[in-house]
C-alpha cells in the first residue's frame, strides 16, 4: 500500500506546530497503525530527519498510552485503540491526517504526544477506597451480586486513554470520571466514601479545565472499551444526591 500522511509536528509545548506531509509506500495491510509509523520513523532516521514522536507502550490495547486523532476520529475509524487498528482498515492511496488529542487540559508535549496527567490528578482526588494494606475482611465476607460485579467491571474496564475527551466538542472528561465513580458507587466496598468521592472527583475535573457534558454521545461512540454513557447519568445522580444529602460532622477532640 502507498499512503500520504499529514502529520502534526510540534517541537515542544512552547513552539508553534504545523502539518507535514509524508509519502509512505512501505505499508502492508497486516501492519498495525503504530507499526506503520515505526516503519515511517525508521525511514526518517535513515534520512537524518527526526522521527515522529507518539505515545505507545503495551500495543495490546490495554495500557491506554497510545492516542492519535486519525482522520478526525480518536484512535481512527474503528472503535478500538490505535495500537489495535490495522492498515487493512485503510485504502491504498489514501491520505491520512494524524493529530494529537486536542483539549486544553491535555497540552501537547511534542508532535503527537500530549500530557494527560490531569487524569491522574482526578483519580488522586478520590478515585480509591481508603483501605490500608492489611486488616481487611475475607474476600468472601461481603457477597456482591454477580450483575453488580459485572456492571462494576464494565465501568472499570476504562483504560484512561482520553479518547472520550478528544472526541468531545467540549473536551469533557465526564465519561472517564463517571466510569471510576460508577465502579465504586456500585460495589459495596465503595459505599463509605461514596458521596465525598464524587464531589471531589468532579471538583478536580472542573479544576483541570475539562468541559461540560452536553449528551452528544461522541465519547461513547469512540471509546475503545465501550464504556457506556449511562455511567455519566449515574455520576450526575450520584453528584446531585450527594449535594442534597451529604453533611459534615464536626469531630470533637481526642480520647484519654
Amino acid at each position: 500500500m502507498k499512503l500520504t500522511l499529514k502529520i502534526w509536528r510540534q517541537k515542544n509545548n512552547n513552539s508553534k506546530g504545523e502539518f507535514k506531509t509524508y509519502v509512505h509506500d512501505h505499508v502492508s495491510p497486516d501492519m498495525s497503525f503504530l507499526e506503520m509509523l515505526d516503519v515511517l520513523n525508521e525511514g526518517l532516521v535513515k534520512k537524518g530527519e527526526e522521527p515522529v514522536h507518539f505515545d505507545h507502550d503495551c500495543r495490546e490495547g490495554i495500557c491506554g498510552m497510545c492516542s492519535l486523532y486519525i482522520n478526525g476520529r480518536p484512535h481512527g475509524p474503528l472503535q478500538t485503540t490505535t495500537c489495535q487498528l490495522h492498515m487493512r482498515s485503510f485504502k491504498d492511496g489514501e491520505t491520512i491526517t494524524i493529530e494529537p488529542w486536542r483539549a486544553a487540559a491535555f497540552p501537547v508535549v511534542k508532535d503527537l504526544v500530549v500530557d494527560r496527567s490531569a487524569f491522574d490528578r482526578i483519580q488522586q482526588a478520590g478515585g480509591y477506597v481508603s483501605v490500608n494494606t492489611g486488616g481487611v475482611p475475607d474476600g468472601n465476607a461481603i457477597p456482591v451480586p454477580k450483575k453488580v460485579a459485572d456492571e462494576a467491571m464494565d465501568a472499570a474496564a476504562c483504560i484512561g486513554c482520553g479518547a472520550c475527551v478528544a472526541a468531545c466538542k467540549n473536551a469533557s472528561a465526564m465519561l472517564f470520571v463517571s466510569a471510576k465513580v460508577s465502579q465504586y458507587a456500585l460495589l459495596p466496598q465503595g459505599q463509605p466514601e461514596r458521596k465525598e468521592r464524587v464531589e471531589k472527583m468532579v471538583a478536580q475535573m472542573d479544576e483541570e479545565g475539562f468541559g461540560a457534558c452536553t449528551n452528544t454521545k461522541a465519547c461513547e461512540a469512540e471509546c475503545p472499551k465501550s464504556i457506556k454513557i449511562t455511567n455519566i447519568a449515574r455520576m450526575n445522580r450520584e453528584y446531585y444526591s450527594s449535594m442534597f444529602t451529604n453533611y459534615e460532622v464536626t469531630v470533637s477532640g481526642g480520647g484519654d
Partner: protein, 640 residues
C-alpha cells in the same frame, strides 16, 4: 563473597511468621524520618509505594510512562492464584507451594515460595477491599477457574483483564498516598543509575524524559520494581518500553544477576505476520481450558484457519492430548510451547509462515453454546479478530510460542535485598520465586506479595538497623560522578551518527537470542550467539544513529540507552545458558534429554547462578547459591 540467602530456621510453615517476629521494627514516630525510592509502578512497585506510604515512610516513586497506571502488569490477562480453597477442591497453602515448586522445576527456593503461597490469600482480600471487580458467582461469592497446569480451581480473575484490575487497584492505593503527600510521583522519568556509597545504596540518578534533565535523588533505600527483560528478544509480549536498564545499571554497581537465562516462553501468542512486526500479542492461556490444540497429521503447507474445517477429525493430531493424556491441553507452558515448536519443526505447522498451530473452540462451542464461550473469552476473541482479521467463533485461532516472562533477575535474599545493602528487587525484577519456569497466574501473585506483604516488613528491619541518620545527601561527590557517567554515555550515543537505526540492531540481537538462547539451546549454538552478540555490541557503539539532543523528549535516545543494556545482558544470558548444561523448566538443552523429554541434572545444577559484574569487557564471575530442599523431594516432572 559468599551469598547468604538468609532463609530462616524452622519448619516451612513457621519460617515466615517467625522471621516477621525477629525483624526489627521502626518506631511509628520515626518512620517519617526515612526516605525510600521505588522505581517502577507496576504491581510490585505501586503496591510497595502505597503500602510504605501508608506506614509513614516518605516515598518517591518513578515510572518512565506518562502515568503509573500504564505499567505492563496491566496487560496480564488470565488471573491470580491464591490458596483460598473456596472451591473445596483440595487446595491448600501447601499445595500451591508444592505446585509452584514443581512447576518451577525445582529451581526456586522453598522458603520464598511457601511465603508466597501463604500471603496469596491476603492479596485477594486486599484487592477485594480496594474495589477490584473480580468475577463473581450468582450467590455473590468470588469465582475461580483452573489455570495453566493446575488441577484445582484457585485462579481469581476479572474477565480477561485481571492484571489491569489489580494494577488499577494498586494504582488507586498509590493515588491515595500521593494525595496524602506520602508519595511523590515522578512520571516520564527513567532511572539511569544507582548511587552506592560505603557499600550501601544511597539513591538514584534519573532522566526527566520530557526536559532531558538529569537529576539526583537520595534515600535510605532503593526498591527496584522494574519488571522483566523479555524485550532482549526484540519480539516478546512485553510492552515496547519494558527494559532491563534499571536492573542492569544496578548489576554494574554490584547487584548480582541470577539465572539470567531463565526466560519463559508462552505457548499461546498470535503468530508473526511480517518483518514490520513490533511486538507479539499474548492470548491468555485460559483459552486452553476450552480450546483444543492441533495440527494436521500430514503436513499441509500454508493451511489457513478458514480451511481448517476441511480437515476431517481422523486427519487431525491433537498432539498435547495424545502425548499427555492426563493433562492434555493444560500441560505447563514450557511443555505446550516446546511441543508446538516440534510439530512446526516437523513441517506440520499451519498458516502462511508454517510457524503456528491451531487452537480450536469448535467442540467447546458445540458443547456449551456460543453464549457461554463469549462470556468467558469475549474480549480475547475480539482482540484476536482485530489483529488477524479471522473470527475465532467460526474458525480456529492460530497460535505460536513467544517470550513472555523472565524468571531470572537480580539476586535477592529472603528479605528481597540484592547483594548491595539497601537495594531491593521486587516482582519480576528479582529471581526468587518461579525457579526455571513460572506457573500461570503466579506473576501477579508474586508482584503483589512482594509489594503489599513482604517488603513492608523486611525493609523496616534494614532501616531500623542502619538508623535514620545513615543517609547521604545528593551533594555527595558520588552523585556528581554518576551524573557525569550517565551524561557522557548519552553524549556518546548522540555523537556516533552511524548508519543503522536502534531498532535494526535490536532486531538483530533479538533474532540471535531467539534462535540460540530461546526454547532450545546447544553448546555450539550458544558459542556462536556469543560471538554474534559481541559483534552487535561493537557495531552498536560505532554505527548506531541517534538523532536529536539530550535536552528534549527524544524517544530514539531512550531506546538506544535501553538497547545498549540489552546487548550486554544478552551476552550474560548466553554465558549462563552455556554454563547450565541441563534441561530444566522452559529451557531445553539439546545435550540433556531422555526420550525427547527434558532431563534435569540435580547432581550438578542444584543451585542458583548468580553473576557478578567484573568491569567493561570482562568475563563475569559465577557464584553458586545452593538450593537447599528440606521439605520437597525433587522428581522429574511428568505430565503424561
Amino acid at each position: 563473597m559468599a551469598l547468604d540467602s538468609k532463609i530462616p530456621e524452622g519448619s516451612l510453615a513457621e519460617k515466615w511468621s517467625k522471621h516477621k517476629f525477629n525483624l526489627k521494627l521502626v518506631n511509628p514516630a520515626n518512620k517519617r524520618k526515612y526516605d525510600v525510592i521505588v522505581v517502577g509502578t507496576g504491581l510490585a512497585g505501586a503496591s510497595a509505594a502505597a503500602s510504605l506510604g501508608e506506614l509513614g515512610y516518605n516515598v518517591k516513586a518513578f515510572c518512565f510512562q506518562d502515568s503509573p497506571r500504564r505499567a505492563h502488569s496491566i496487560a496480564a490477562q488470565g488471573g491470580i492464584n491464591a490458596a483460598k480453597n473456596y472451591q473445596n477442591d483440595g487446595d491448600s497453602v501447601y499445595r500451591l507451594f508444592y505446585d509452584t515448586i514443581k512447576g518451577g522445576d525445582y529451581r526456586a527456593r522453598e522458603a520464598n515460595v511457601h511465603r508466597l503461597a501463604e500471603v496469596s490469600v491476603n492479596i485477594i482480600d486486599q484487592c477485594v477491599a480496594q474495589g477490584v471487580p473480580f468475577a463473581r458467582e450468582y450467590g455473590g461469592t468470588l469465582a475461580n477457574r483452573s489455570f495453566g497446569g493446575a488441577q484445582v480451581s484457585r485462579t481469581f480473575y476479572a474477565r480477561g483483564q485481571t492484571g489491569q484490575q489489580l494494577l488499577l487497584g494498586a494504582y488507586s492505593a498509590l493515588n491515595r498516598q500521593i494525595a496524602n503527600g506520602k508519595v511523590k510521583m515522578y512520571n516520564r522519568t527513567e532511572m539511569l543509575d544507582v548511587v552506592v556509597v560505603d557499600g550501601k545504596a544511597r539513591g538514584i540518578v534519573t532522566r526527566d524524559l520530557v526536559t532531558g534533565k538529569i537529576e539526583s535523588h537520595s534515600a535510605h533505600a532503593v526498591l527496584l520494581c522494574t519488571g522483566g527483560y523479555g524485550n532482549v528478544f526484540f519480539l516478546s509480549t512485553n510492552a515496547k518500553g519494558s527494559n532491563v536498564t534499571a536492573a542492569w545499571r544496578a548489576h554494574k554497581k554490584g547487584a548480582f544477576f541470577a539465572n539470567p537465562c531463565f526466560t519463559q516462553i508462552h505457548p499461546t501468542c498470535i503468530p508473526v505476520s511480517g518483518d514490520h512486526q513490533s511486538k507479539l500479542t499474548l492470548m491468555s492461556e485460559s483459552l486452553r481450558n476450552d480450546g483444543r490444540v492441533w495440527v494436521p497429521r500430514e503436513a499441509k503447507k500454508g493451511l489457513k484457519a478458514k480451511d481448517a474445517a476441511s480437515i476431517p477429525e481422523a486427519d487431525r493430531d491433537y498432539f498435547l492430548e495424545r502425548k499427555y493424556p492426563s493433562f492434555g491441553n493444560l500441560v505447563p507452558r514450557d511443555v505446550a510451547s516446546r511441543n508446538a515448536k516440534y510439530v512446526c519443526d516437523e513441517g506440520r505447522g499451519v498458516g502462511a509462515t508454517g510457524l503456528a498451530v491451531f487452537l480450536d473452540f469448535a467442540d467447546a462451542i458445540k458443547r456449551d453454546g456460543r453464549a457461554v464461550i463469549e462470556a468467558k473469552y469475549g474480549n480475547l476473541f475480539d482482540m484476536y479478530k482485530q489483529i488477524t482479521g479471522d473470527d475465532p467463533y467460526t474458525m480456529p485461532m492460530m497460535i505460536y510460542p513467544a517470550v513472555h516472562y523472565t524468571m531470572g533477575g537480580l539476586w535477592v535474599d529472603y528479605n528481597l535485598m540484592t547483594t548491595v545493602p539497601g537495594l531491593y528487587a521486587l516482582g519480576e525484577c528479582n529471581f526468587s520465586d518461579h525457579g526455571a519456569n513460572r506457573l500461570g497466574a503466579s506473576a501477579l501473585m508474586q508482584g503483589l506479595a512482594d509489594g503489599y506483604f513482604v517488603i513492608p516488613y523486611t525493609l523496616g528491619d534494614y532501616l531500623a538497623t542502619i538508623g535514620w541518620k545513615d543517609k547521604v545527601d545528593i551533594n555527595h561527590p558520588a552523585f556528581a560522578e554518576s551524573i557525569k557517567s550517565v551524561t557522557d554515555r548519552q553524549e556518546k550515543l548522540l555523537s556516533i551518527k552511524g548508519k543503522k537505526t536502534v531498532d535494526q540492531l535490536h532486531r538483530e540481537l533479538g533474532l540471535t537470542m531467539w534462535e540460540y538462547c530461546g526454547m532450545s539451546r546447544s553448546e555450539s549454538g550458544l558459542k556462536k550467539a556469543k560471538q554474534i552478540i559481541q559483534d552487535i555490541k561493537k557495531e552498536f557503539w560505532t554505527n548506531v544513529n541517534v538523532l536529536g539532543s539530550g535536552n528534549e523528549l527524544n524517544m530514539e535516545l531512550e531506546k538506544a540507552n535501553r538497547v545498549a543494556d540489552f546487548i550486554e545482558l544478552g551476552e550474560l544470558m548466553v554465558d549462563d545458558a552455556l554454563n547450565r548444561t541441563e534441561s530444566c523448566g522452559g529451557h531445553f538443552r539439546e545435550e540433556s534429554q531422555m526420550d525427547g523429554e527434558a532431563l534435569r541434572n540435580d547432581k550438578d545444577f542444584f543451585y542458583v547462578s548468580a553473576w557478578e559484574y567484573k568491569g567493561e569487557g570482562e568475563q563475569q564471575a559465577l557464584h553458586k547459591d545452593p538450593l537447599v530442599y528440606e521439605f520437597v523431594k525433587p522428581s522429574q516432572r511428568s505430565y503424561k
